[in-house]
Amino acid sequence: MTAEGIEEEVRRLVRQDDPRALELLYDAFGAPLHGFLVARLRDPREAEDVLQEVFLDLARRPARLLGARRIGPWLFAKARNLAIDRMRARGRSEKREAAWPDWLEPAAPACDTPSPDLARLAGLVDRLPVEQRDVIAMKVFQGKTFAEAGESLGASINTVASRYRYALEKLRGWLIAEEGHEG
């Protein structure tokens, strides 16, 4: 089913007050939303909590979906706002050093001991500013295009592309500095 087809089906189920709309929404948007929240909050457990809040809020007032122009971006905006509230409430510092961030793992999990280079890279990605981290998560880890990432983040393609470029520049600078020190 296409994205438009899914949204139409969800609206139809909401009009009929059918809770199967929730399952359809989760299956279509759950993984990308979870990924976005994980990159934002840098904690899979908190990401799950916030995702639960998104869906509970939907269950309480599903009629708001009928007024949304596009359901996908609406869900991402909702998730983003809840994540911001969560971070403010916890007083989380954006610049956090981590040996191996909770929210990242090696792409080849069969490897028991990830290489130190990979661990270092994961730590550097974790240090990126939140907006650049969002774009890296969507573009690299979720395989979205700049247009798709822009739609989810509520930003223009140019803005998303700029953030991506700045993220790569920052990573390059850190990698060169660290590898230069080692060399």
């Binding site: 979870h34 994980v38 799950e48 909770d102 792409a107 080849a108 790569l168």
Partner: protein, 132 residues
């Protein structure tokens, strides 16, 4: 260091994804909340319909009583109109014009009959009526 090299290194990482257990947990909670909301809405609808039915029944009852009263009054005065004289008819017409109902007209007609002697005109009685 080129962008492609950095992207190649980043491809060695991935984000921790949602588990199937999370899906079941999340949807179960959300579905319960949905059903709670639906139940509350249905209960409110039943409450509202109950009130509407009660008010409608009260309105119908009052309308029915009012209609019955009018029908009885009209039948009574229709039966009386055959034997009432023209002065009583005029009196009733005047009362109706100034907004007094059949009861008042009947009262003044009775007064007219009691106080009017044989052969007397209506003028003194009209004067009394106007004063009162």
């Amino acid at each position: 260091m080129k962008d492609e090299e950095i992207e190649g290194r980043l491809a060695g990482l991935q984000m921790r994804g949602p588990s199937m257990a999370m899906r079941a947990r999340l949807l179960s909670g959300a579905r319960d909340e949905w059903m709670r909301r639906t139940e509350a809405r249905l209960a409110f609808g039943r409450f509202l319909r109950g009130w509407v039915a009660t008010i409608a029944a009260a309105v119908l009852l009052c309308a029915g009583i009012s209609w019955r009263e009018e029908a009885l009054s009209a039948r009574y005065f229709a039966s009386r109109s055959a034997c009432e004289d023209s002065s009583e008819k005029v009196l009733r017409a005047v009362c109706a014009e100034v907004g007094l109902n059949h009861g008042y007209a009947a009262r003044w007609a009775y007064v007219c009959r009691e106080r009017r002697g044989a052969g007397e005109g209506l003028a003194p009685l009209w004067r009394d009526l106007m004063i009162q």
